[in-house]
């Protein structure tokens, strides 16, 4: 048993739903009790999908368990086939139905449906959402593309498939558009984009392309590996997030297609210049903590390190399937990767790493808010805010621009830091002050908040005063340091003093420590 308050991933059948909901002509019949229909609202509310996801739930109840739940499943399959007339039906079970072992695949076979039914094994007690999505996509591709190698149609332009974007994927909608534009610049035809927006019949055309672009290995790697083995299609696994990765991606794709990379490389982005411009100097060495799915976490670390000049002080993922990739990425920054799906462990790691910026999921956003750290969201699990009305990709040139804005805006700007220094004793401008335009309506700040947990964590950073004590004058001097770095200065000074057996801490100790650690 494992204790969870929030989870990074849902159960594997939610992954299967994401594949079905991404496509046309695919319907999932899920053997599941009442209540599992909650997953529909992920699509209709978070993504604001305009139609119900193509899923039928059997809704068995306790009283059915002594009777014939298998019959209920068969009825649901027949009804779904009649009502929705899909091209392909997926059949599977959620966690409870897995326990009653009705074998949805076997049952569907006995029905003589006029359409193919693809059985899914979704082990709910050992696997999770992304695994379920990748397994479902793999099974669908196998079923629709067929295992007989065939000759590719003759065409003038090289062609590829784009594999991996899904419903409820982080910015997948816009990434697809960005990558399609990029491939068009290279003169490469896109044969099929799947699963997002593809029909079941389109999957039959997958082997017609020259190679596959795997945008999200979490979802599409197993299917792409199978296509490579059976249909001999090479796969591009470089994920084009960030300036460098996008260039690598363009070179790799151009080499495979035998085309000139120049037109795509010439498509400008602004991240590079903005990062080089002098006003970005203050970004240098900012400590950044990164956590997310493997794809986005690895990409974020590279951008942070190579393109923005940050210092990566923590890197981790909840994607255990790709833990090895994240570990080797972390090693490049001299870090041990954090591989966990326990958000409390991530919170502890954030506190320990003392970052100045957190790049994470919605979960880390909340942690950062509690710790009063700036944060940008870089990965699923998604939130309604992660489906912005505007075009907002993560990949390609525009993705780099979006990333520059969304990571840098939460930070205090360099000039603002100077102003803070200058006005730090101003009566309207201290760490307890509300924003000045809110002063008239702001309530007086009180030290304790209603929730003990919130109070604990916000206080945590400053309250960890060790056995060393501070002289009054040193304490006063510490107050002159801007509040957003004061906690760090306090900790550094205390560590410095403890290591040297200095007690109490004086003004001298404070500045000795400052000299020791540098900025």
């Amino acid at each position: 048993m494992e204790l969870a308050t929030w989870t990074y991933e849902g159960p594997p059948h939610v992954g299967a739903m994401r594949i079905a909901a991404s496509m046309d002509g695919v319907h999932l019949v899920l053997h599941a009790p009442q209540g599992d229909t909650y997953a529909d609202l992920l699509f209709t509310m978070i993504e604001r999908r305009k139609t119900r996801p193509p899923v039928t739930y059997t809704t068995f109840q306790a009283r059915d368990l002594s009777g014939d739940t298998a019959e209920i499943f068969k009825d649901a399959c027949r009804d779904a086939a009649d009502r929705f007339a899909p091209d392909v039906m997926l059949v599977g079970a959620s966690c409870t139905a897995e326990l009653i072992q009705d074998d949805p695949g076997g049952l569907a076979k006995t029905l003589d449906l006029a359409l193919p039914a693809v059985p899914l094994e979704l082990p709910s007690y050992s696997k999770k959402e992304n695994w379920g999505a990748s397994e479902t996509f793999y099974r669908l591709v196998r079923a629709c593309a067929g295992s007989t190698p065939r000759d590719r149609p003759q065409s003038t332009a090289p062609s590829c498939n784009i594999l991996g974007p899904t419903s409820l994927g982080f910015r997948n909608r816009d990434d697809v558009q960005e990558i399609q534009t990029l491939l068009a610049l290279l003169g490469i035809d896109v044969c099929v984009t799947a699963p997002l927006g593809a029909g079941a019949r389109d999957l039959a055309r997958l082997p017609d392309a020259d190679f596959n672009v795997v945008l999200y290995p979490e979802i599409a790697a197993p299917a792409a590996r199978w296509l490579k083995k059976v249909h001999g299609q090479e796969m591009v696994v470089t994920v084009p997030i960030g300036v460098g990765a996008t260039a690598d991606f363009i070179h790799e794709v151009a080499a495979l297609a035998g085309v000139d990379p120049a037109p795509a490389l010439a498509a400008g982005e602004r991240l590079s210049w903005y990062s080089r411009s002098i006003d970005s100097n203050y970004l240098t060495g900012k400590r950044v903590f990164i956590f997310g799915d493997a794809t986005h976490a690895i990409a974020a670390a590279r951008i942070a390190d190579e393109e923005l000049g940050f210092k990566v002080c923590g890197l981790g993922t909840y994607t255990r399937e790709l833990a090895r990739d994240v570990r080797s990425a972390a090693a490049r920054y001299g870090l041990d990767a954090l591989i966990t799906d326990d958000h409390l462990a991530v919170e502890d790691a954030i506190v320990a790493a003392q970052p100045e910026l957190v790049l994470g999921t919605q979960m880390e956003r909340h942690v950062a808010k509690r710790l009063r750290l700036p944060c940008a969201v870089i990965s699923s699990p998604v939130h309604v805010q992660d489906f912005p009305a505007r075009y907002s990709p993560q990949m390609g040139a525009e993705g780099a621009n979006v990333i520059f804005d969304s990571w840098v805006h939460p930070l205090m700007m360099g000039l603002e830091e100077h102003l803070l220094q200058m006005f730090r004793d101003d009566f309207e401008f201290h760490d307890d002050a509300q924003a000045s335009h809110l002063a008239a309506v702001a309530p007086q700040r009180t030290a304790a908040t209603a929730d003990p947990f919130v109070a604990d964590t916000t206080a945590g950073q400053e309250a960890q005063i060790g056995p060393v004590s501070w002289t009054d004058s040193a304490e006063k001097e510490l107050k002159k340091i801007p509040f957003f770095v004061r906690g760090k200065a306090r900790r550094n000074t205390e560590n410095f003093a403890a290591e040297r057996g200095v007690n109490p801490i004086t003004i001298e100790t404070l500045y000795d420590a400052k000299a020791h650690f540098g900025r």
């Binding site: 308050t5 159960p11 009790p33 209540g35 229909t37 909650y38 604001r48 368990l65 966690c95 009653i100």
Partner: protein, 435 residues
């Protein structure tokens, strides 16, 4: 419309509701309804020293997070003990695992006085005996920390029935009233604190001093129960709780539910009548509230009058809401869907509806969607899984989940309740953009 909303005094009314030309359409098929676990979202806010530990699967944890939104700031007072492969394969002893998790939780949260183990579909199917685990854990952590158990599993409960099972478990914990106890009242069903306080003030004016609300705000404040105890449901779904209280010797006061001016008046009158409060005094006490409710609803009558409304099943509040819409706002009710119909509790609500209203219990969602489309209503009251797709088809919708999270009972919320129904219509009229 009849002048006075009937107040039920006996179960004889049950027959009349059916006989009143309202055959119930019973459907089984896909239920687009939450399971009972979801009621933890308001229960944990209501009872502030309780922690709800679901013993279930990753699906349960994901449900809670999706239904509650990832927007809850603080560490919430609920969590899931996720059963894994090792537990099912017998490689780990589930009771030992649970004991370990509970010990860690209680250590982490010293503020928790009551730990509630909540059964789920998987724990029910594998027959994990949570009441027994609770007894064992009580032995370990009691008496300072109370451990109890109930089931919120989807194979047994929908949405609000989770609250019902929790409250029924609380009834078992209530002390016996002393033999010389004075008459007392228990109001059964979660109400927003503001609504509780309003009702408390009215009860005080009635001269009722011994009034308790279930659930109480603290696990330490459970009322005593005995033959001198009367109870009234404030929520129509707390049926098992009502049965449990009856078994403890309490007397049930039956009334329509306190929605709108009429419902609130009938509910308060029933209480006053039970405690022999003089009717003219009751009228005098409720007069200002009745006037305020009427005034507040007046603003929305024009918008809602004659509007045709279709209610999908969600919280079991549907018959009461339909009565409110029909009688107080002049809406036409096409269908009232409810996950379960406890006819004895909602008899007076059904009696107040015309025979043309279709009452449906349970759900086959695809067929119900067909019926809704055929009826072409002005407003569809439904869950979040269905609302946006209906909007795209051109219908106005109201998410039903708001009725369990928003203060809507009592005189001073009657206008707010009307506004919840009016807002989607007003909004649609204002917008000059298409879906």
């Amino acid at each position: 419309m009849t002048a006075v909303l009937p107040v039920d005094s006996a179960t004889a009314k049950v027959e009349r509701a059916d006989a009143a030309g309202q055959p119930v359409l019973r459907q089984r098929g896909q239920h687009e309804v939450f399971c009972g676990l979801t009621s933890i979202i308001w229960l944990h806010r209501k009872m502030q020293d309780a922690f709800f530990l679901i013993v279930g699967s990753r699906t349960c944890a994901h449900l809670m997070q999706s239904a509650a939104g990832v927007m809850i700031f603080a560490e919430p007072r609920f969590a899931t003990a996720i059963i894994g492969e090792r537990d099912l394969a017998g490689m780990a002893d589930m009771n030992d695992e649970l004991d370990g998790i509970v010990a860690r939780l209680l250590e982490r949260r010293p503020d928790i006085r009551m730990l509630v183990l909540v059964g789920s579909c998987p724990s029910e199917v594998i027959k994990l005996d949570l009441p027994r685990a609770a007894a064992r854990l009580n032995h370990l952590h009691g008496p300072d920390r109370r451990v109890m158990a109930y089931s919120g599993s989807g194979i047994e409960t929908t949405f609000t029935q989770g609250e019902d099972n929790f409250l029924a478990a609380l009834v078992a914990d209530m002390p016996d009233a002393r033999p010389d106890a004075k008459p007392s009242l228990i109001v059964v069903g979660s109400l927003a604190d503001v609504v509780e306080d309003q009702f408390k003030r009215i009860f005080q004016s009635f001269g009722l001093t011994d009034v308790a609300f279930l659930p109480s705000r603290s696990s330490r404040d459970l009322p005593a129960v005995g033959p001198k105890t009367a109870f009234i449901l404030a929520q129509p779904f707390d049926n098992v709780t009502a049965q449990a209280l009856l078994r403890r010797g309490a007397n049930q006061i039956r009334a329509p539910f306190p929605f709108g001016e009429e419902g609130t008046t009938a509910w308060l009158n029933a209480i006053a009548a039970y405690f022999d409060v003089d009717q003219s005094r009751v009228d005098a006490i409720t007069a200002p509230g009745r006037a305020r409710a009427q005034k507040a609803m007046e603003r929305y009558r024009e918008t809602l009058h004659g509007k045709r409304i279709f209610l999908f099943p969600d919280s079991q509040l549907e018959p009461s809401l339909a009565r409110f819409l029909y009688r107080e706002l002049g809406c036409e009710i096409l269908e009232v869907g409810t996950p379960y119909l406890h006819r004895s509790h909602v008899a007076s609500e059904l009696d107040a509806l015309p025979a043309t209203v279709r009452i449906s219990e349970g759900q086959d969602v695809d067929k119900q969607i067909d019926r809704a489309r055929a009826a072409s209503p002005d407003l569809i009251v439904c869950g979040m899984g269905l609302a946006n797709p209906f909007e795209v088809e051109g219908y106005s919708t109201k998410w039903s989940i708001e009725f369990v999270f928003t203060p809507i009972q009592g005189y001073d919320q009657a206008g707010d309740l009307a506004e919840l129904f009016a807002r989607p219509l007003i909004r649609r009229a204002r917008l000059n953009v298409e879906a």
